[in-house]
Amino acid sequence: MDASVKSGKRQKSAVGQPLPHDSAHLHVTGMAAYTDDLPEPRDLLHVAVGKSPVPHGKLTGVELDTVLASPGVVDVCVAADIVGENNFGPMMHDDPILADGLVQFVGQPVFAVVAETVEQARKAACNGRIHYEELEAILDPLAAVGKQSFVLPSETLTRGDPDTALDTAPHRLQRRVWLGGQDQFYLEGQIAMAIPEEDGRLVVYSSTQHPDEVQTLVAKTTQRDDKDIVVICRRMGGAFGGKESQAALIACIAAIASDKTGRPCKFRLDRDDDMIMTGKRHDFVIDYDVGFNESGRILGIDFEFAARCGMSADLSGPVNDRAMFHCDNAYFLENVRIVSHRCKTNTVSNTAFRGFGGPQGMFAIEYVIDDIARELGKDPLEIRRRNFYGSNERNVTHYEQTVDDNILDDIFDKLVASSEYENRRAEIRSFNKANPVLRRGIAITPVKFGISFTSTLLNQAGALVHVYKDGTVHLNHGGTEMGQGLYIKVAQVVADEFGIGVDRIAITAADTSKVPNASATAASSGSDMNGKAAQKAAARIKGRLIEVAARHYSVTEADIEFRDNRVYARDREMEFAELVQLAWASRVSLSATGYYRTPKINYDRDSFSGRPFFYYAYGAAVTEVVVDTLTGETRVLRTDILHDCGDSLNPAIDLGQVEGGYVQGVGWLTTEELWWNQAGELGTHAPSTYKIPTCSDLAPDFRVALMQSSANREDTIYRSKAVGEPPFMLALSAFHAIRDALADDACAAPALNSPATPETILRVLEDSSDE
């Protein structure tokens, strides 16, 4: 534990307190302003796009006369109107903003209508006629593998000698599993508003996780310098990865429209357009071949992943890398080969979504473990533990990082006991014997999730802190607020640094003119990185204040202490604001930046080896379900979760991430189905057809706890741990509970694909009854 914990200072401090979200009072009153709620400039125009009707085609012409003649239309933009680069792809330059000569998925933007009102723009967009010569389309990942159609080269990671291990193993299993994708379904759709300013500058209000990237891409698209663009985002109405790279498309179109018309332009996507036009979680086809011994220990394994990346690379490289890194989850794979195909399909380009490939990798290995247990007739819990990473041996991952902070044995011990797993499993077994129609199932699954951007250079953050003469503080950093509570957590850190209340701190919008070059708020890294950066900025000012105070009281700097909005110097004290006044009068700077780079990480992308992750976050969940074998319907009955947030900065906020992540994960694995028809059209593009969990889907018995006394062994901000993504994968326990319920003597290891919709389950039952 770190010193400040031991001294008991944290008792009174802000860090560690379950403070409400800084905007909670604004959320509940409707006063929290999202991008569409901002005051609109008087001459604002609105944008809507005309989209490709085919999945793959050569554009031969676009008729826009009727569009231009539609009521309220001011102008229409096509690819030729883009003065700079027609691309919003963050890594590869393969993502046209407006299609130019070629359309590659149904819904790809071809032209942008600019009109006086939103309704006029949307109506007019329906009037465009797009002419094309249709080309052959590849609509699923396996077809892409067959045609060697990839957005990026396939990658292979090998450790040990998997072929020999497989050939000599006493037991061997092979299977192919389909794992569906997922729409982010943030409640606030994608939106940006571009406002021209004097001298060619542009201010862009964007609902984005990555203002810096929006700035860069808008600059390139409109042929400006970065300095001439300011991107601002106070908050998003949810993002989940969906506004990491995709927000730039919306912002670029708003900027292009604004440049062409010379007026401010807002582009807000209708929900259906949002779901059709923007990327989702990658669906995977997983092939595995595993060899194991009598005790269930994995001796050798061969994975082949085919991921639907869609029509462009977007973030698919790092997403699939992370899937490769996480297909061990918590298990030691001595002899392993992972082949990862990044399939190019004529569907929307898939992108980041909470977990970023990790969930797919972990789904794969958990399926293998479950199959081994079912093959051997053992409790999957036993097989999971049998394969856990060891403490001193069997503790090096397939990418050569040593797992030296593993607490899963402890988490499992505690959770198995508190959830009464053993008794309930036995009781469920006898229930199922007596009940042929309604069957129950239970499963426990672990999470080990690597924290850091796998692209090492992204692991840097900046902050800006001002202290005003009255002792109040303006806090800014490169992180964005999407509901995860980043802003309150960072404010708690800064409050403690100055020994003042959080109410003395103004939390302000992410703004590229205040903190430059910030990484995306992603990879669960927001609090770790921005918390440290803001702490450093505050510490610099604090250092100057200490100097002033020591001089004023004629004591040593070590005698100065900041707490309770006051400054103490041995037996004397003053208000924090008084000291600030004193410093100002002494001509001391009360503003500072802070910069943080994550230490210790280094990793060679070419060999997939090194230390990509600063540390790991852990957790486990036990889920019990009931399944109707006649209808295929399922419900979660009880959930027990124990999750590791290190020494939490804010246990209420962290609990919210754990609970929300789990439920979102259950949605991914059960009700949320992305369905495309033969013409490559997404059929599930609105909440009427795409079903995220509702209130009644939450287990009637839902018990979630954070691991206590679990300080991060690494020097993170107050020894806390990242919490954004890891809990999402706790939901794998729900999927395996469903498998457990479906398994019986006739079919020990049901071939259940994901999502486990009633249809998927009925198909499994039909197949097993046919056998």
Partner: protein, 494 residues
């Protein structure tokens, strides 16, 4: 008093509007015309609840408060009512309504975008139920999606909001910060009562809201191409999603005869403008086997606006009420001008969106026979999600036994054909036979002659058929007493 302007109450003031597109939604009006941005658009189709507002109507000396989806509700439909939005609940962010305070204290918001909608649904619950069970909370919130919290803290807030109640201020707060008696609100609404119907005209678009059935029938006869608007839960989407121009709308929601709900000794007589919220409890009381279906039928805001008549007249093959109404022998009273006729519901649909109504003819009321004590009636809904989902398959049965033999069996299905229809081959395989597993297996096989389902995003054709057959098997088990719970009811804390 003009009958060409809309009048409603907002925060204690009467708002009068005389020149507006009648298909302008309440949400557009709030956000774009008034700049009241607390209410959010999440989907513009009434499925996510971010746009939820509450509408109050005088109900004797009290007010009835109902949550609705403002994103698909046309502004003229709130004429004569009080509109309550999230801004109406608290004068400022430091003086919160108990519902709002409970949400803050239980960390019920993360990104906050869905929150105003949850606040309004919880507010409606707060005013109608002092001690809701988990099931009642789930039901009340079925139309509100939250993607961040996983709902646990929202449920906790719903369970504790009454502890936050302050009797002095638990009513609405006005912008000027005073609590107000519902009586004053009722009186103010009474002053908005119309003597004449509403007739709006804007840019060639007409909206009529007649007050009695004679006027309604006459208007429709004059304008046979007009669109009849009831709850607008589908027509709203024609505007927000399909961008259709609706030249003439005739609204059923003010016609007193169409809003009548009567129980006679033989029938439940449901005017075609009676909302689902009003008719469902009456129907479920008579037919308890329809409880699960109607709990899962859309969501409270949709049921508050949507009507049983609209569900039937719209005639979607996936409409949830018709299968049940067919098997209980419901009939429709259709009217054109002054001329009425009665038609059994199962003779009403001819083909996809083709029904028996002539131009100018409209649905006046639905006649639902009172239950026969000897008959078992049950309806099942099969969808990916329990709440607020559209059925992939919806089934309904009416079974009358004579000893071990089946005296009468009727089955109807939605989701399997261009229209909701009876499963006649299946019925034949069962009628007169022993009510046994063997009979049911023969009947399940016969279903394949009744329906040739299609594959779409809700289910594949073969599995749709399989599910339907299994639902029939399930119904058999239920009648044998060997299966008294569904996955939906299992393990719920009621």
């Amino acid at each position: 008093m003009s009958d060409s302007s809309i009048r409603f109450v907002l925060d204690g003031e009467v708002i009068e509007i005389d020149d507006i597109d009648p298909t302008r939604t309440v949400l557009q009006f709030l956000r774009e015309d008034l700049g009241r941005k607390g209410t959010k658009e999440g989907c513009a189709e009434g499925d996510c609840g971010a746009c939820t507002v509450v509408v109050a109507e005088a109900n004797g000396d009290d007010l009835s408060l109902r949550a609705i989806n403002s994103c698909i509700q046309f502004l003229p439909t709130i004429d004569g009512k009080e509109l309550i939005t999230v801004e109406s609940l608290a004068p400022d962010a430091n003086d919160l309504h108990p519902v709002q305070r409970a949400l803050v204290e239980h960390h019920g918001s993360q990104c906050g975008f869905c929150t105003p909608g949850f606040v309004m649904s919880l507010f409606a619950l707060y005013k109608s139920n002092a001690n809701p069970s988990r099931q009642e909370i789930d039901d009340a919130l079925a139309g509100n999606l939250c993607r961040c919290t996983g709902y646990r803290p929202i449920i906790a807030a719903a369970q504790s909001m009454y502890e936050e109640a302050d009797p002095q201020s638990d009513w609405l707060r006005q912008a000027f910060g005073t609590a107000q008696d519902p009586k004053e609100r009722v009186e103010r609404l009474d002053r908005l009562v119309r003597k004449d119907g509403l007739a709006l005209e804007h840019d060639g678009h007409h909206f009529f809201a007649p007050l009695d059935i004679a006027a309604f029938a006459e208007l429709y006869k004059q304008h046979p191409d007009a669109t009849i608007l009831a709850g607008g839960t589908d027509i709203g989407l024609w505007v927000t999603k399909q961008h259709r121009e609706l030249e003439t709308l005739i609204y059923t929601g003010r016609v007193s005869e169409l809003k009548a709900l009567e129980l006679t000794s033989s029938h439940i007589e449901v005017g075609s403008a009676v909302t689902l919220t009003d008719v469902v409890p009456v129907l479920v009381k008579q037919y308890p086997g329809l409880d699960e279906l109607f709990r899962r039928f859309a969501s409270p805001p949709i049921r508050n606006a949507g009507t049983l008549g609209g569900n039937i007249a719209n005639g979607s093959p996936i409409g949830d009420s018709m299968a049940a109404l067919m098997v209980v022998g419901a009939s429709l009273v259709l009217r054109r001008g002054g001329k009425q006729r009665e038609l059994p519901l199962d003779a009403f649909y001819h083909d996809y969106q083709v029904n028996d109504m002539a131009p100018g003819e409209f649905l006046e009321r639905i006649r639902i026979p009172m239950p026969d004590p000897g008959a078992i009636v049950r309806s099942q809904k099969w969808s990916k999600r329990f709440d607020q989902d559209i059925s992939a398959v919806c089934t309904a049965y009416r079974l009358q036994l004579d000893g071990d033999k089946v005296a009468d069996f009727q089955m109807a299905c939605g989701g399997l054909a261009p229209v909701v229809k009876r499963a006649t081959n299946c019925e034949q395989a069962i009628n007169g036979q022993a009510w046994s597993r063997e009979t049911v297996e023969r009947a399940a096989a016969a279903l394949a002659q009744d329906f040739i389902p299609i594959s779409d995003m809700r289910a594949s054709a073969d599995i749709r058929m399989r599910a339907t057959q299994n639902l029939l098997r399930r119904f058999f088990h239920e009648t044998q007493g060997s299966l008294d719970e569904t996955v939906y009811t299992y393990g719920r804390q009621r």
